[in-house]
Amino acid sequence: MTLTSASKAPPRTRGDGPPFLMALPALLLFALFALVPMAIVVYLSFTRWDGLGAPSWTGFDNWRTALTSDVTRHALWLTVKLMVVSWVVQTPLSLLLGVFVAGKQRYRALLAVFYFVPLLISTAAIAVIFKNLLDPNFGLGAVLDLPLLNQNWLGDPELAFYAVVFVISWQFLPFHTLLYQAGARQIPASLYEAAAIDGAGRLKQFWHITLPQLRYTIVTSSTLMTVGSLTYFDLVFVLTGGGPGYATRILPLDMYITGFQSNEMGLASAISVVLVLAGLVLSLALVRFSGFSRMRSQQAGM
């Protein structure tokens, strides 16, 4: 994108790559199933519609409501909080786990299999499992009689949010661990050998070789994580339904409840447009500032 990177990149000629025609089928499907419905949603956001009858034009009413309502604002704030907290929790954990299971030892391969399990369970099942495990009367804490575990996890507005973050992290750690594992295995062993000869310890090797070499994996994983938590819905819906009170009512959930439980399709459409825009801005910003578009091989001269 910037001038320096453009001048360094290998020159591209016009005829480079497959012809545009090959992208056409995908583009058509994309237009039909994504752009057209999105245009309809934008139209609906200016109407009042309960799903029955015909939508009636209301101008900017829904937008005024969506942008000034405490509930939606709170939902937006929760979404941002969820995004940040999930990233802070998941990134270091999955990075360390990924680097750990990248090792060739047998026991690590075995552990990797166990770490992988949550990825195989459907989201709804995970939510139901944790709902039962966290139950204050018949859950894990109550059965094992551990006061520390026996909290009102999903019923206390303060705790519920972090319980949700925990379950989401439990579900997605394996996926990001997998990314980091693959990334770590790509790092040439010769780099470590050279560092060892120069007298670098394990910590120094991690800090000066592993981490910089994983830079693009971190970008990829973080992009998936943040954009994913922006639109995350199913697990929270089954686990808490947005409760207690409004404590876990994140924006996608707010949209669903407004549209499909309260039957205010117009208002829900306005919220969903906000979501699309937020997702767009976020991905663009991440790509822009992380240097994703400038990604090049890090093994020049190897």
Binding site: A34, D135, S269, G279, L280
Partner: protein
Amino acid sequence: MATRIPTRIMVTAGAAALVLTVSACGSSGRTSGGGSGDGTLAWALTQGSEATFRASATEWNKAHPDTKINYQYFQNDPYKQKLRTAVGAGNGPVLFENWGGGALADYVEAGKVADLTPDLDKNPEWKNRIFPSVLKSATVDGKVYGVPVNGVQPVVIYYNKELFQKAGAEPPKTWDDLLALVKKFKAEGIAPLSMGGASKWPDLMWLEYLVDRVGGPETFANIAAGKKGAWSDPAVLEAAEMIKQLVDAGGFAKGFTSVSADTGQAEAQLYTGKAAMILQGSWAYGTMATGSPKFVSAGKLGWTGFPAVEGGKGDASNIVGNTANFFSVSAQASAKEKKTAVSYLKDGVYNDTYIDNLLKNGDVPPVKDLDAKLKASANADWTTYVYNLTRDAKNFQLSWDQALSPALGNELLTRLDQLFLGEISPQEFAAAMDTAAAK
């Protein structure tokens, strides 16, 4: 370079839009015309009374080969959206099961439901055998838009007789009795009341009963009519205050706000002896009979009506709950289809075998003069109790979240949840609801 930015925008937008719009445009309607078999199409729910509907359709179609009824069954939660989409698009069935109240009123307002009043008036014996208090839930502006098809579901207090005996306690007759019981059971280390607070709607049963007992049915009538400031009525404030009092006194089991009502764990607290009482709809009897058949068959399960409030305006015989599920007839149906639907509702529903099937399932239909049938049914003491409770009730209030519009009902559930959590005061609750109702 310039060509790459739009692609990126489109890819990201696509990812986000797909997630959103797939859910927004899902569940297309099934066309009622071709391909759905012959006969008049009826949509009903899988759980609950499905067996009764199936038997009834078989019986009806055998006797009326020219005017057949063709049932299709759907699961509860997806059904609400499916019905809305199908009816909205003009593809709805002739007969459809619904819950009456505010959601039905939406359909009526959109001109999608046929008025059944003339047909009921023409056949007084049909109209008169149904409890008027139940028919009221499907009445909009004095016109009847649906008739009940299954059992009544009033809300009562269940209690663990064993725990009551041990504590030497009597079931509560008044609000003060209840508060005394809370103290008594707490002192013994037993949770006085269990509740599935995470589902929010069990919270509502407390507010419904207390507002009725304090202010009488008029208080909610004003709310339902959308009168300005109806939520700030002193009766609502006092009821909210009483809820706060009960929560603060530790009336509910520890962690009740994270117990879901759908998993049967609140009922399990009662039959495992962890909690002494629970306020729940009549379906909880079935939940407990399945969860612990021994507990119920040994007669350890007790039940009683909601306690009276001294000095309150509401009659202690008043009940709240789900009056029944209803069948409504589509306004878009042809004259012939409508005729079939009405004659089925009149003669096919609530006939002798139909009622027997309902009772076999533990459903108590809101139909007059059933005493003899009830005595012969299984769980006769329970079904008789429910029947008499419903028959003798001066007022049977439909659950507020059903009676109000879905938008207001949703707001009510969440604000009430906040009240139970102590996040907002009774005054804030009333103010928030007045604001929401004014929208």
